[in-house]
Each structure stands twice: as C-alpha cells, then as structure tokens.
Amino acid sequence: MYHKEKSIQIKNSASALYNNLGVLRIAPRRLTYFTVVHANVVNMVSASWDGLNYSHRQLQSKEPNVATSTSLIMQAAFCVLPSRDLLVVTSQKGIQMYESDGSIMVYWHALDTPETPTAQAVFARGISAVWENYICVGVSSGAILVFDVPSKGSNITLSEVVEEHKEPITDIASECSGSQECIADMVSADDGGNLCVWKSGEEFQLLNKIPGFDMSCSSVKLWKGTVAAGYGTGQIRLYEAVTGILHVEINAHARWIYSLDIAPFSGLLLSAAEDSLVRVWHLTLTPETNTVEVAHLHNECVTDTQICGAKFCDGDGYAFAVTGYDLSEIIRYTQT
C-alpha cells in the first residue's frame, strides 16, 4: 500500500519525545516544512515537492534577553489558523511562537518556575490551534493556557487558563474535519490517561471528561466528533467525544505509543510506537447508527528504532513521514 521514499537528512537526531514531528504543507509554494526536536534545538527542514531543494534551520529554546540560558524542548508543532500559520515551541522554561518558517519569534510566554527545584518537573507540552483564533498549550501542572492570536502581528495575549487536569498534559488536538457541525472543538490528554473534551470560546467550556486507567495517554486526535487516543500500554481507543462512549479498542502496539495522526479527508489513522512499528488504519463513521469501524490497512517496521513521531503529509494520507529516537533522518512513505 505504501512504499518507502528517499529520507530527508536532518542536522541532529530526534529525541525520544511524544509527537516529535511537525509537518506543514504549503501548497502555493509547493513546499513542506518539517520540524524535529533534538534536546534544546528544533531542526527545521523545508523540502520542495520536486525533491530537489532542501533548506535547514535550527531554532534554539532560549529565553529572550538571556545570553546563555537554554532549556530542553518538549515539543514543536505548527498551528494552522485561518489567517496565519505559526510554529509553537514548548520547553521547560516557557512557550515560544514563531512565524511558520521559523524566521521571527513573535511571542514568548515564561512559565512560573520555582526558585528551588521541586521534585515535580515543570514544562509545557501539548500544542494545538483551536477554532479561528486560539492556540492552546498544556503545562505540567495540568493547566491549559489559551492564547488569543490576532490575524497578524505580535499582539498575542493569554486569554484564559483552564484547570481541569491534575496531571501533566501530554497532548492537545482540535477537531480536524473542518465540519461546522461538531459540537466539540478540542480534546486534551494527560499522564493519567484522562481526556477532557472542550468547546472553545471566550470562556472554554468543558463538555465531557473521559477518565483514564492510570496509564498515560501520549497522543490524541479529534475527527468528526470521535476521539482517537493512544496509550502507554500500546492500546488505541476511539471514543465518542461528547458522550465518552467507547466505540473501539485496539491492542495496536507492543510498546508505548508515541504518535497518532488522522488524515481528515480520507479517515486514515496513523499510529507509531516504541516497538518500531507504524500502522495505518481506516476509520469509517456511520452517522445513522452512530458507529465507528476500524480496519487495519498496513504496517511499516523501522528496524531497531523506537519511533517518536509520525504524521501524514497531506489531508488524504497519500504520504506520511516518521522520526525515530537517535535517527538523523525523516523517513517518508508514499502510497503505491
């Protein structure tokens, strides 16, 4: 179903972090941007569709106005809003927002770090654009910071802090189908496996809470009102977001899942784990019966590699890209 293409070499190897691959498709310029986190650096590659041009850039997690201080980065992700695209980078120290090509930093938000280190680590993790003008970022305390983003300029403001989770946020996702009918806009996941389903607005409204089972949910997606959640046990669960009803449970992987992605136009689901396997599934939603069906389509094994990032490169799922711990390349696969 898929075959391997030529890999893209990156300057550093990928670190073992959840959802460690960002992809932004820029159709008008026939380019795709990729981001891969290595310790305190974000490696950015801009790849032309004809495969001839690659340009690299590195962003360091550095607080502005501080010469030497750096901190470890937890995640880098593209946020696509109707008016603009931003690259958001979260670290132990705070949240940075850049123009999507990484050229200019437009916003910096510092986390409250205690004077003397506490046993509980402090960091930001979990990034998503929500609705038309919000970017939501999770924090290790369980709080979610909601930023209001104007259509241009750097006048980004912290609009709200929602505190519902009690454990560190792992991932946040927004409804990706583009459908206006969906009630839920956003889902957030934490280290205890708990999921919160939200409606965005001036005040974010909690629609539902789906309890975990003491196992971290490392990656989450929301599509046509269905939550796809990947867990440390290697399981994928599909829930109806608003009611919390469990549709499907898949014993998908033998090790911790690190990344899930959905191609919104085709309903393809991508899962990747520490067990070195990437799997492609197909989701079928039947609105009349309110059921979800899952079919397994394809496996790819990245030999001897614990995969940490996997994303579709386009809305149909025609191609996908993969990163692995200690690997200095982005591996690509395309449908045959």
Binding site: M74, G232, D326
Partner: protein
C-alpha cells in the same frame, strides 16, 4: 526535564562500573596473599569493592543525589565516577577512565532503551543493587548502607506514576543520545549491530499491563462487545511475564541490570578475538600491588586467557585488525599506597559524618558535588 534522575543514574552507572572492576579483579585473583608482585588478592578485591560501594551508598552522597535537580553533563558524571573509583586503593588514568565510562554508559543505555515499560527502570536499578549487595555481603557496615539506600529509593520512587517514569526515561535517553560506541560483548551476543545501534526485536513477551497486539474490538452504545477481529502485527508477541518484585528483596524477573560480565567469562572456552581484545583492555587495569613509595612506577599486569603463552602470542598477533576497528587503548591502573592517606582524607568527605551536621548544605560532600557541577 525530570528532576529525579540522579540517584538511579548513579546506582546503575556505578553498578556497571563495579561489575567491570569486579570481573577484572577476580580474573587476576590467582593467589590468596599479596606475595606476588602485580597480583590482587581476594582481600584486596573486597577492599576495593567495599571502599567504592561504601562511598557511593553513603548517606551524605545519596542525600545529595536525592535532591531534585537536573541531570549532570557527561563531563561532570565522569568526574564524579572517577572520584568514586579513586576512593579505593585503585588508580585509573584518564584514558582508562574514558574507556571504562564508555562501557558503563553503553551498558546503561542498552538497559534503558530495552526497558519493557518505564517503571521497570526500578527493577533494573534493583538488579544492580542486589548484585552490589553480594559484593559487600561480608562487610556489615557497608552492607547496611546499601540496605538503607535501597529502602530510601523504594520510599522515593515507588509512588511515581508510569508517566513520570517515562519522563525520567526520556531524560535519560537524551543523555545517551548519539552514543553508538561498539562493545564487543554486545556485538558478540547480537544485542548491538555493527553500526553501534541496539537490536530491537518484534517478538517476545509484551510488558506487564500491555495486551498482546493483534485484536480490534468494537462495542455498542451500552458497552457490550459486538465484534472482534484480528489484524496481522508483523511480529510474534506473547503474554507478559509475571511482574517483578519492587520490594527490598525478591525476584526481579527481568534480566536487564544483571552482571553480564559473569556469564561472558564462562563462555570464553574458545578464543573470541573481539571479546579478547575487550577483556585485555580491561585486564590491563591493574598495576603494581605493593607500594614502592615511588608512585610513578607502573607495571602492566598481563592476563592469560589461553592455556599456553604461545597461543597467547598468536592470538595477540592476529588481533591487529580488531585494534584498528575499536581503537584499543591500554588501561593502566596502579595501586598507590603513598596516596592512600590523602585518599582517606578525601574519601572521608563522602563518608557519613559522625557528629551531627548543623547546616547540611555546607557539608563537604555538597561542596565537592557543587564543585563538580561547576566543571560541566
């Protein structure tokens, strides 16, 4: 990221260091007394182990590590471990320490990489502690320190969630990132590929609490299972093994963290040139046994792995290609009794203070570690 890595890092890296040192000291134990020059006796071996373990598991050292803090850099880690090794009568020169550090780090990287589930990091640490206990079982004072430390670790780490352990593991994986030193023992056992990367199988038991992959289950709105079907996994997985013990004593079940060098000595009935070179590097750790009060005198102690000297020469000659592959470095260490008194003074700074410490933050152990931190 995680602020709780240090105690586990020292127990595991220190444990690997002790395994290597113990194996080398044992291999040279051919006489019970010190009469032969260049020989380490059983007593000397025990003394080295007791000195290092005693320092590593001292209350002040462990308390310092248990404070929430970031992981040290490699340079700082190596410095602290070198000082630990030097609290014994053994000396290691920088080249030896470099190579020893590489071996220790690659062993721990292997264990962390292959750790079935993040919480099993504790079981790996306990495997190291269990073996360390065996090394010092004849010295009650040191054994007691190990037990106390073990209790403390259980107290601090038992309540961490799987998510917190995974964060700890991810922090360690960043520490190990891009290190692909080839270790002949791993290459021989096929756990490491010639390119330096570890082998990750797609078969075997799944971790505790994970279900064997392959099943898709669909449910109705009332939670009843309505369909189940299977998918091809591309691997051959089996049910998890029973869960290991997280208590002070017990069967840990997983093998990671146990002393690999013990079984390796047994399986060298036939000459294995790769491994032989490796062992010879380590073999040349020891130097002169009796202090001649001239610290610059060094004697390299030669290990016979073969039955006759002729075979030894032959094997040594054909080992040339491996040398260029692995960059064999001679490890030399000397026993330096003249420095012993000075050492005792320095080691004393790691040891538990007899008098109550008024201001813990000004204890000498802290100063030393703080000093080491500045080196990074």
């Amino acid at each position: 990221m995680s602020m709780r890595t240090l105690p586990l890092v020292f127990i595991n890296l220190g444990g690997e260091m002790l395994y290597i040192l113990d194996q080398r000291l044992q291999a040279q134990n051919t006489s019970e007394d010190n009469s032969e020059k260049g020989m380490w006796s059983e007593n000397d071996r025990k003394r080295v182990m007791n000195d290092i373990v005693g320092t590593m598991f001292s209350k002040s050292f462990m308390d310092e590590l248990l404070k929430p803090q970031q992981l040290y850099s490699h340079r700082t880690m190596k410095t602290v471990l070198t000082r630990l090794a030097h609290t014994s009568i053994m000396r290691l020169n920088p080249a030896s320490m470099d190579r020893l550090y590489e071996l220790m780090v690659m062993a721990f990287k292997y264990q962390v990489f292959l750790c079935p589930r993040p919480k099993d990091l504790l079981l790996i640490s306990y495997n190291h502690i269990d073996t360390i206990r065996e090394f010092v079982k004849d010295t009650p004072a040191v054994l007691n320190q190990v037990e106390e430390t073990h209790r403390k670790i259980i107290e601090v780490y038992s309540s961490l969630s799987e998510g917190e352990f995974q964060l700890l593991r991810q922090t360690l994986l960043i520490f190990f990132q891009d290190l692909h030193v080839r270790v002949s023992l791993f290459l021989k056992n096929k756990v490491q590929n010639p390119n330096g990367r570890f082998a990750l199988g797609t078969s075997g038991p799944v971790p505790y609490k994970t279900d064997v992959p392959g099943l898709i289950r669909a449910f109705d709105r009332k939670g009843r299972e309505v369909r189940r079907h299977e998918f091809p996994t591309g691997g051959s997985y089996s049910s998890p093994l029973r869960v290991g013990s997280f208590d002070l004593h017990g069967d840990r079940v997983i093998r990671l963290g146990l002393n690999m060098y013990v079984s390796s000595v047994n399986c060298y009935n036939t000459p294995n040139l790769l491994a032989k070179e490796e062992l010879n590097l380590l073999a040349r750790l020891m130097g002169s046994m009796k202090a001649e009060h001239t610290p610059n005198t060094e004697t390299v102690f030669r290990i016979n792995l073969f039955t006759t000297d002729a075979e030894e020469e032959e094997a040594g000659a054909s080992g040339g290609t491996e040398e260029s592959l692995f960059g064999v470095i001679n490890i030399q260490a000397m026993q330096d009794e003249q420095a012993a008194t000075e050492l005792a003074r320095i080691a004393g700074q790691f040891m538990e203070q007899d008098e109550p410490v008024e201001n813990p933050s000004s204890s000498k152990g802290d100063d030393l570690l703080a000093m080491m931190d500045d080196l990074s």
